[in-house]
């Protein structure tokens, strides 16, 4: 390794300093928020029965962890979210490929897809429950219904945006339409698929929670709705915090996979 020049060192530290400030700021906000909340509840400035407090949430978390109810709630919500996410990914890809091969079909279906996509999907949930019964399968379908139509539309658009000259190249090399798909469209759209998946994981979580609000006996969504009905606000707030963590973790995993893929190009 050659020695790092003074100017480069200066540059690096000048880049690092703002990073450190940003990180400190983030932690500070969190600590202040928790301290203020706890303090206000302890001093009676806010009603801890309604607003709960960090210590009560933590205690609630521990006690529910002890009696083994919490893990199954988390597990079922995670399971439903992951399954509906995987199904959305696979189905959206398969349907979009089909639409790309049959121009007539895609033109015919386009208005329907647009309508279904602009529909507020939570409106569908009660109907799905009546049709499919109150089971985890229904909740998975609810999760899918939130993400799938938008995924198909946006994936189809990015398929269309691939340079037609690249397709022409495949034809000049003696390829068929099938080769345009496998050699150009699919590989060219992997980055687009990653960003779509990052959006979808959040949407599926929203769909699953909506489903659990209406039709579940288990899961974090159920805990939220039940907790609010019986005024167990500790449950509600703890579930929201857990949902935040779950969303962050799932998003982080996808981000990691994406970075790993992109690293191949360096």
């Amino acid at each position: 390794m050659s020695e790092i020049s003074l100017a480069q060192q200066k540059f690096l530290s000048s880049k690092k300093r703002p990073r450190r400030t940003v990180n400190c700021g983030r932690i500070l906000i969190f600590v202040c928020f928790v301290a203020l909340w706890e303090g206000a509840a302890a001093l009676g400035l806010i009603d801890s029965f309604i607003f709960s407090s960090p210590s009560k949430v933590a205690a609630c978390f521990l006690s529910m962890l002890m009696d083994h109810t919490l893990l199954s709630h988390i597990g079922i919500t995670l399971f439903e979210t992951v399954v509906s996410f995987l199904l959305v990914t696979v189905c959206a890809l398969a349907i979009t490929i089909l639409l790309w091969f049959c121009r007539k079909l895609s033109e015919t279906l386009e208005p329907y897809l647009v309508i279904l996509n602009s529909l507020p999907k939570s409106a569908l949930a009660p109907l799905l429950i009546v049709w499919l019964g109150a089971s985890y399968r229904t909740i998975i379908v609810t999760g899918m219904s939130v993400a799938i139509f938008g995924s198909i539309l946006s994936l189809y658009t990015s398929f269309q945006e691939v340079d037609p000259e690249k397709a022409k190249l495949i034809y000049t090399l003696g390829g068929k339409k099938y080769h345009v798909m496998t050699k150009v469209i699919l590989p060219a759209n992997i980055p687009a698929m990653f960003s779509l998946m990052k959006v979808n994981i959040g949407l599926c979580l929203v769909g699953v929670i909506i489903g659990e609000f209406i039709a579940a006996r288990q899961g974090l969504g159920y805990l939220i709705i039940y907790g609010s009905q019986v005024f167990k606000l500790d449950w509600v707030i703890m579930s929201i915090v857990l949902l935040c963590l779950m969303a962050m973790a799932l998003y982080g995993l996808l981000g990691m996979a994406e970075r790993r893929y992109l690293k191949r190009f360096r």
Binding site: D163, E165, K168, I170, T172, L173, K183, A188
Partner: protein
């Protein structure tokens, strides 16, 4: 040039083509007649939009002529014979998600002909044209000239007899353009290929071609054909300094700017 170029490779007989859209009909080419013999380097020049790219698409079977016919070895041309004809597009279109080696092997891969012999031939070409060191690199790591050479190797990987080149150097700056033009001209000569080059650049046409076909403005018709004769051993770059160069250039220039 060698005078024993008697084997007819491609023959165009009163070929015509028009594009049809809802807005109307655009006649692109009319009554094109010419013959390409083995080992020739034919340059085609003409004003923008006169149907040069259309002509190449017809020649490699991507489009079918509306009038007349195109014969390859005396047989009507179909898309299946595309293996005999390599088409190098204006832009290299190297895929960023493939390494240079994978890009160059795209043709054989699609044709299902990834034989060890083919791989070896391609590897040999990469070595000869100074790309072997970069075979595992991504296209974005290559200079414009190297990318163009990689695109040529990709076209040559299917071992076509005829090469169609659509303004292959127009994306390059002048300096690189001269160098790569010289390079690619020599490569084609060395591989004993027959080539048809489309270009805007008259000096490029004179420095590379053994015959220049001048097309008229749209719809493209053959306005004139000029035979180019230089001593055999001159490279494209040396041709530019030969005394005949200026005469050919001026002749073409007059031809292009003469309105009928």
């Amino acid at each position: 040039m060698e005078e024993i170029m008697d084997e007819k490779l491609l023959e165009l007989v009163s070929v015509g083509y028009a594009y049809h859209t809802m807005q109307g009909e655009t006649p692109a080419l009319q009554n094109i007649n010419f013959t390409v013999y083995k080992g020739e380097f034919v340059a085609i020049v003409g004003p923008s939009g006169c149907g040069k790219s259309t002509l190449l698409s017809l020649l490699c079977g991507l489009l079918e002529p509306e009038h007349g016919s195109i014969l390859l070895y005396g047989q009507k041309l179909y898309q299946k014979s595309a293996g005999n004809i390599g088409y190098m597009l204006q832009h290299d279109h190297l895929f960023e998600w493939r390494t240079i080696e994978q890009n160059v092997l795209l043709g054989p891969e699609i044709a299902g002909k990834l034989t060890p012999r083919r791989r070896e031939a391609v590897e040999h070409m990469l070595k000869t044209y100074g790309l072997y060191k970069f075979k595992d690199a991504r296209p974005s790591q290559l200079s414009g000239g190297m990318r163009q050479r990689a695109a040529l190797v990709r076209t040559l990987a299917l071992e076509p007899e005829i090469l169609l080149l659509d303004e292959p150097f127009s994306a390059l700056d002048y300096q690189t353009r001269l160098a790569v033009g010289d390079d690619i001209g020599s490569i084609i000569k060395k591989e004993h290929k027959t080539a048809i080059l489309v270009t805007h650049d008259l000096s490029e046409a004179v420095s590379l071609g053994s015959r220049v076909i001048v097309l008229s403005a749209r719809p493209g018709r053959i306005k004139n054909v000029i035979n180019i004769k230089f001593p055999e051993y001159l490279t494209p770059l040396q041709r530019r300094n030969a005394p005949e160069f200026k005469d050919y250039f001026n002749q073409l220039w007059k031809e292009m700017n003469e309105h009928e």
